[in-house]
């Protein structure tokens, strides 16, 4: 008959208390507070973590062009070919890049085999093949290429993390997604354009000599030389339509001092103009000293991502320390020095999805969500009380506790609450009482066929259970699939829906039953029920 063992009753009360305890920090502590002083550590102190759509911030999805990264890495095989065959008397065509490999042919077909052997000897990790027409291809092994791809992605994430960390925002998220994508989330940041510039710039810096003998306007492509445009200023980039580069330079492909050898870069001033000062490591300093020492009086191009920042004339041999001049504003020198410090991205990235929510909208959404929740709670609670009398009041009380438990579960699990997530809570409020409706309707039915109140309550709870479980499982299936397939805010909806279904089953079945049993025990000889 109707009886709940003491330990079960205690367990039900305990679970409810835990739910309320875990939800409580959300009421006395603001989501942004960091000061935990004065609160004992063993108390629940986590608040619900808000999604970007509620606290504001920038979300970016990046596609890493790994193929391009591998191609540029393969360009190093050009040097391998040159070095391996230097002084061997083998005459060859200049090495050309093709895909993730470098190709060339020997002028005398009989040299091909020897050339291939020499290269292989020089770089045992390379795959050297001779084609039918005598063309020699130098490339990566499959495992090397696979490793390279993985390393590139990891390195890209690492560098992006360094750059985003430098913004000094609270808890940015940088995560790999799939084989070649990265998710970046910066809560509380309101300037997507700034973030994209910081993340999206490859920042491949190089110092290259300007070839003063060629005229950039009549330049035709020649091996060893390249024509590069002068970088546009930020101001020019912002205007529409964007002006085409006004000036070009022809630069030599070697010697090059790569920016990878920098160990530090800082924004600075020279003659009250913003510049970036930098410092090389040992190897970099030697190479830079060598380059500048031998070409005093010639213009040296400072190349960033295949655009010329500036091309000052070399005044004297420079070693470890130098400066980069250009058409800079102070924020630009700050950004550039940050990019140079964090290192160049090994592969170019592209933004394929972007969402930025201002702090105002987030705050409004939270406000709107709160009001909707409270109104929904009160209206449904009132409706239940009117429909089912005292039993409805029990259900309404269970509903309120259910709300506390949803918030408690969200805080304890540190699940992210999004705007659709709030919608999920509101929807659960409406659906949570379903279990009680099923039970109460059943009790009414049992009463109408002449069962005693106690028997009616007993079979009401017992018989409605199969329907309750069947009906909640179907909703749960939909919620779980949404969680698996959805992303971002929508996933938040499935989270609250799932949590809500579970907690509402608990409060609607166990908690109301406990209340009914306690109420019955106070007056066991009732002949009618207030339902």
């Amino acid at each position: 008959m109707l009886y709940i063992e003491k330990w079960k009753a205690a367990l039900i009360v305990l679970i409810c208390a835990l739910g309320v305890a875990y939800s409580s920090p959300n009421f006395w502590r603001s989501a942004t507070a960091v000061d935990d002083s004065g609160i004992p550590g063993w108390l629940p102190n986590k608040t619900v973590s808000l999604g970007l759509d509620l606290q504001g911030g920038v979300h970016l999805l990046l596609q890493v062009d790994i193929a391009a990264g591998v191609r540029s890495r393969a360009a190093a095989f050009e040097d391998t070919v040159r070095q391996s065959l230097r002084g061997t008397g083998i005459r060859r065509t200049p090495p050309e890049r093709g895909g993730a490999a470098v190709k060339f042919r020997t002028l005398d077909p009989n040299d091909a085999e020897r050339a291939a052997d020499l290269i292989q000897e020089n770089d045992p990790s390379a795959v050297v093949t001779i084609g039918e027409a005598g063309e020699i291809t130098v490339g990566f092994t499959e495992t090397d290429e696979e490793r390279l791809r993985l390393a590139m992605l990891t390195q890209t994430i690492e560098i992006i993390r360094r750059r985003v960390d430098a913004l000094g925002t609270k808890e940015p998220i940088i995560q790999r997604q799939g084989d070649d994508r990265i998710v970046v989330q910066v809560p509380g940041f309101d300037e997507p354009e700034v973030l994209k510039k910081i993340i999206g710039t490859t920042a491949q810096l190089a110092f290259r000599l300007v070839d003063t003998t060629s005229d950039p306007s009549t330049f035709v492509a020649r091996p060893g030389l390249e024509r590069l445009p002068q970088a546009l200023t930020d101001e020019q980039k912002a205007t529409t339509p964007r002006p085409p580069p006004s000036q070009y330079f022809v630069v030599r492909n070697s010697p090059v001092v790569p920016g990878a050898l920098l160990i530090d870069a800082q924004p600075s001033f020279q003659d009250s103009r913003p510049v970036v000062s930098f410092r090389f490591n040992g190897a970099g300093a030697r190479r830079f000293l060598d380059l500048t020492g031998r070409h005093i009086g010639e213009p040296l191009a400072i190349v960033l991502d295949n655009e010329i920042i500036s091309a000052p004339t070399i005044q004297a041999a420079i070693g470890a320390n130098g400066i980069i001049t250009g058409q800079f504003s102070v924020p630009e020198t700050q950004r550039l020095s940050l990019l140079l410090r964090s290192g160049a991205l090994p592969a170019p990235v592209e933004f394929i999805q972007e969402a930025s929510i201002g702090p105002g909208l987030g705050k409004d959404s939270i406000e709107a969500g709160k009001i909707a929740c409270i109104v929904a709670f009160l209206a449904v609670a009132l409706f239940m009380s009117v429909s089912y009398g005292l039993f409805g009041v029990f259900a309404a009380f269970a509903l309120i506790l259910n709300g506390g438990m949803i918030i408690g579960a969200l805080s304890a699990l540190q699940a992210t609450l999004t705007l659709p997530g709030i919608a999920g809570i509101v929807l659960t409020i409406g659906m949570a009482v379903d279990a009680n409706v099923l039970i109460f309707e059943r009790i009414r039915e049992e009463l109408s066929i002449g069962q005693s109140p106690v028997a009616a309550i007993d079979s009401g709870y017992r018989r409605a259970l199969s329907s309750i479980i069947d009906s909640q499982v179907t909703t749960l299936i939909a919620a779980v699939i949404l969680f698996a397939m959805g992303s971002g805010p929508i996933r938040g909806f499935s989270v609250t829906l799932t949590i809500g279904i579970v907690t509402s089953l608990f409060t609607a079945i166990f908690l109301t039953r406990l209340m009914v049993v306690i109420w019955l025990r106070r007056a066991p000889r009732r002949t009618s029920l207030p339902i």
């Binding site: 009398g389 929807l427 409706v437």
Partner: protein, 316 residues
């Protein structure tokens, strides 16, 4: 206790629902045909989630002149651009179609639109979805809906007989089809949130249907000699009060969300409200009636020994 419990249908409702199923069939069939025609003729107004493109929400200190803004933005020649008031008279939502395949073009377009909207516009939200992401999301959304339908039907099959699963699936497809039709007719934006709403509707609608089926099964055991149409009618009536109660509480909650929840999720809420209405209708007027179409449904009275049955769980 001062509270007097309220009842919708007296103590035992007894409506002639199953005997008059022809009306429901005609109504549902024409609704589905209408929905399909609308879908083919009008198509769906796909959101940027699926098509790729950008969206900018701004707030002005005072009510802006939308016609004037439209003129300024149209002058940029960015193709299809929609500008509309969004919730408050001071808020404006601008949607820009996808600009070619290069992401760079899209970024430039956003910058241009921002500039055209003027300096006093507070940017509240910008979103951009690249074409590849749009295609992927479209695919993921379609897979999610199919998976959910499949999962739900599989569960119903597992718990009941196949006739129930088929009838449930038909009722479910009915609800989803008519909801999609509503989006085609109204031109409401069909986006990721809509897909989430569809899944929720599917879950809710089958939830209602399952409760009716549960009662059908119980009555099949209880009234062994009753004719099937009258037994189904009894089952629908037995559960009618519960079906309506739960729909009302859910609609109350969703009504609060629609009124107070803000503009961003309004379409989502509308889709859910519609889905609750249509799901309730199909559970009462369609799902159980469909069981009559199976000749061997009477055999369900004596469940075959090889069909899987989970014992009904009990609490003590």
């Amino acid at each position: 206790m001062a509270i007097i419990p309220l009842r919708f249908f007296g103590s035992r409702p007894n409506f002639n629902i199953v005997p008059r199923r022809k009306f429901a069939y005609v109504f549902s069939a024409s609704a589905i045909i209408g929905a399909m025609v609308a879908l083919v003729m009008l198509g769906l107004n796909l959101g940027i989630d699926f098509r790729g493109g950008s969206l900018i929400e701004v707030r002005y200190p005072t009510q802006p002149n939308i016609t004037e803004l439209r003129g300024k933005v149209d002058a940029l020649n960015l193709g299809e651009v929609t500008i509309q008031e969004f919730g408050e008279p001071t808020d404006v939502l601008v949607r820009v179609q996808r600009q070619g395949d290069a992401v760079e073009d899209q970024t430039t377009a956003i910058q241009q639109v921002k500039a055209a909207l003027g300096a006093d516009a507070e940017i509240r939200r910008t979103e951009f979805i690249g074409p590849t992401v749009g295609e992927e999301l479209k695919e993921a959304g379609a897979i999610a809906v199919l998976l959910a339908l499949f999962g739900i039907v599989a569960y119903v099959w597992f718990r009941f007989e196949w006739q129930f699963a088929v009838a449930g699936l038909m009722a479910l497809a009915h609800d989803v089809a008519i909801t999609i039709g509503l989006f085609a007719i109204t031109g409401w934006e069909f986006n990721l949130a809509t897909v989430a709403a569809l899944l929720t509707i599917a879950g809710y609608s089958i939830n209602d249907t399952v409760v009716v089926f549960d009662r059908v099964r119980e009555n099949l055991r209880k009234y062994k000699t009753e004719a099937l149409p009258s037994l189904l009618n009894r089952s629908v009536n037995d559960t009618l009060s519960r079906t309506v109660m739960t729909s009302v509480t859910t609609l109350i909650a969703l009504g609060a969300l629609a009124f107070f929840g803000g503009e961003v999720i309004r379409n989502f809420t509308y889709a859910l409200i519609w889905g609750i209405l249509i799901g309730t209708y199909s559970s009462v007027f369609v799902a159980a009636c469909l069981l009559l179409q199976f000749k061997d449904v009477r055999n369900i009275r004596q469940p075959a020994s090889d069909s899987p049955h989970i014992p009904t769980p009990e609490i003590d």
